[in-house]
Amino acid sequence: MPLLPSPRAGRRTALATALVACTALLSACVSSDDTDNTAKSAPTPSAQVASVPGCEKGWTDPADLSPTRAPARCAPNTPAAKPLPAKTHIVVTAGTLSAEYLGPIRVAIAKGEFAKENLDVELKQMPSTDAITLLSKGEIDVLYSAPEAGMVNAAKQGFNVKWVLGNYSSDPKSKSGVWVRLKDGQTADQVDLKGKTFGSLVGKTSIIMYPIASVLEKHNTKVTDVQFKQLDAQSNIQALQNGGVDAAWLLDPAWKDFENKPGYAFLGGQPAGEPIGGMLYGPSLLDKNRAAGTAFARAMIRTVSTYFAGDYKADPAFVQELAQILGNKPELLAAVPSLVTDWEIRKGTVDKAEKMFVEGEVVQAPALPEDKLVDRSFYAEAVGHSG
């Protein structure tokens, strides 16, 4: 009898051993639980909030939902910078870098407002649907987006991601919002939206569903009564023009092409005085380095208060400068009203958005409470609001 197995026998033995090992490993693996993730509670800010000169009007009650509420403002060049002890690198992503609503962050970079806080801010372009995963993992620090379905689901799965800063609400003169094709003789008030097709950039997963739902409600229609077609920005406009969709959400300045055009009507847009987007922080700023998160918020608030406090487009020189910073055309910026910049977050906005997501079946019930999705403590500390 040979002392050593033949190569063929050895191969058989190795194969059998590998299969047995695989089976054993599989049995071991499938028998245990791998879904032990639970949502984290909102961290409480530890820093003592001190009053901040220049920001006496830097806070409004989140429960004030009046459409005529004046947004919070600090005096120009306040709150004063409080440089961090060490230079801190922060990565911010946004879906686009040239849109007007990016103005405050891009001006803050250009004017050195972040540098005053000893922050080195790197702004990158990335779709928010990709960036939310990186934000959740802590691989980026800030995401310029909105509390969309992806963010809500990430929070529901236990990731610490929160909406910490608002961005803007539309000027009452703006007609960015739902535009509809009218049939013969119809007026905006008579439009029956049931069964209609809506063009949308991101379908039911977007925060835009909230104002769309408000418009639908005015026409006795529910979100589930209409169909959404997911189209890119250009196709959205074309589809509304050629009848591919019955209605669409049009952004600045796309709605200008439909203004005063027979056969089209503006039904409504973003709720007045209520930002529905802004900055989302991930665990790197919510957990590990809250001081940097506050410094970032402070720089943003100072920039808004200094450069975007009012009708900033009234100054053609600033429009020119802003266009240059954004890489946009001055005439396009000047064609639509100034945005009402607003760093605060209204009470109930995420609740209403979540309700839409649950109805649209892109978020499973139950909805999360607001404190799991919103953290106002960064801008509160930056403007010296306590309590």
Partner: protein, 331 residues
């Protein structure tokens, strides 16, 4: 030339290294047989006749029992084909269990399979599979047919080749997804832009493969047909089409994979009815539903493999004269 001692050593080494091979005498007994050596080169000292070895090889299992050997080989190949991906899946599962990776971002295979099975049983997955197939299959057929016809013409008629090849070469390098907005403009919203996108993708692959195959048909075949007085149609029917089909079938398999790839990306960009596997994947990503995303990815892989195998099967039926170039086990 080696001397006898060296040859004996080499023979022993060969015996040790190659089972079934032995230095044997013609009657089968092991040993060396002395035979007259070759004469030395002119002008060199004539050596004594050098004994050389007669090497024979004992029949191995493949020769003694070919059917059994083939069955065993096939079993081994199938086992390896299953075991390698299974091992990878096990490592993935283990990595999740041991928390080497975050299960919320990379759900365990077990979780994905359970979710996928639930979607299948609940009937939630079938509409997406069906929607994708409704776009892939017509697009694939349309693109294949057009590509084959144009490939035959450009391969066999130099003037047609001169007229079309530069333009088609230029269009070939255009990223096909970049054509989607144009197709949306031309055909409007609906299934047609998606089908056309698949058709265009498949067209170029089949066109190039067919043209190359026709150009590679040996001139002797054509000459023989000409000598026998074959008409233009008979040249295609009996020479060019049979000779070009086997490589085209290979191209069809490549194109089937590309078709699935393109439709998934296209559905992710603009799905007309918010359905299809691409929509499932991209929408799941949008709403941070990683399990659904992986279910979609795996379903695409399965659909892609089945589609490719179907194309191969049909290709084999269409080209029974084509050589079977699969491995020794035939798998």
């Amino acid at each position: 030339m080696s001397d006898g001692t060296t040859e004996a050593t080499e023979a022993e080494a060969a015996k040790a290294e190659a089972p079934g091979t032995a230095a044997t005498t013609p009657d089968g007994t092991n040993g060396t047989v002395g035979t007259p050596g070759a004469p030395g080169a002119p002008g060199t000292e004539q050596a004594k006749p050098t004994p050389t070895l007669l090497l024979t090889r004992s029949p191995g299992p493949a020769e003694l029992d070919p059917d059994r050997a083939r069955r065993r080989r096939r079993t081994l190949e199938i086992t390896l084909g299953i075991a390698v991906p299974l091992l990878l899946l096990l490592w993935w599962q283990l990595a999740v269990q041991q928390k080497w990776i975050d299960s919320r971002i990379y759900p365990a295979p077990q979780t994905i399979l359970e979710d996928g099975w639930k979607r299948l049983v609940d009937g939630k997955l079938w509409p997406d599979i069906w929607a994708t197939l409704k776009r892939v299959v017509p697009g694939f057929l349309l693109g294949s047919l057009a590509g084959y016809v144009v490939g035959l013409l450009t391969g066999s008629i130099p003037l047609v080749r001169a007229a079309l090849e530069p333009m088609l070469d230029a269009l070939y390098v255009v990223p096909k997804l970049a054509l989607l907005p144009i197709f949306l403009l031309i055909f409007g919203l609906g299934e047609t832009p998606q089908i056309m996108l698949v058709a265009v993708t498949v067209f170029f692959l089949i066109w190039i493969q067919t043209m190359a195959a026709v150009l590679a048909v040996p001139e002797g075949y054509r000459e023989a047909a000409t000598v026998f007085g074959a008409s233009q149609w008979q040249m295609y029917r009996h020479i060019l089409i049979p000779a070009s089909l086997p490589p085209v079938v290979v191209g069809l398999r490549l194109a089937s994979g590309m078709a699935v790839l393109v439709i998934v990306a296209s559905e992710g960009l603009a799905s007309p009815n918010n359905d299809g596997l691409g929509y499932l994947i991209f929408n799941a990503k949008n709403i941070f539903d990683q399990k659904a995303m992986y279910v979609g990815i795996i379903t695409v892989a399965v659909v892609g493999v089945l589609f490719s195998e179907l194309v191969r099967l049909i290709g084999r039926l269409l080209t029974p004269w084509a050589p079977d170039r699969r491995g020794p086990g035939g798998s």
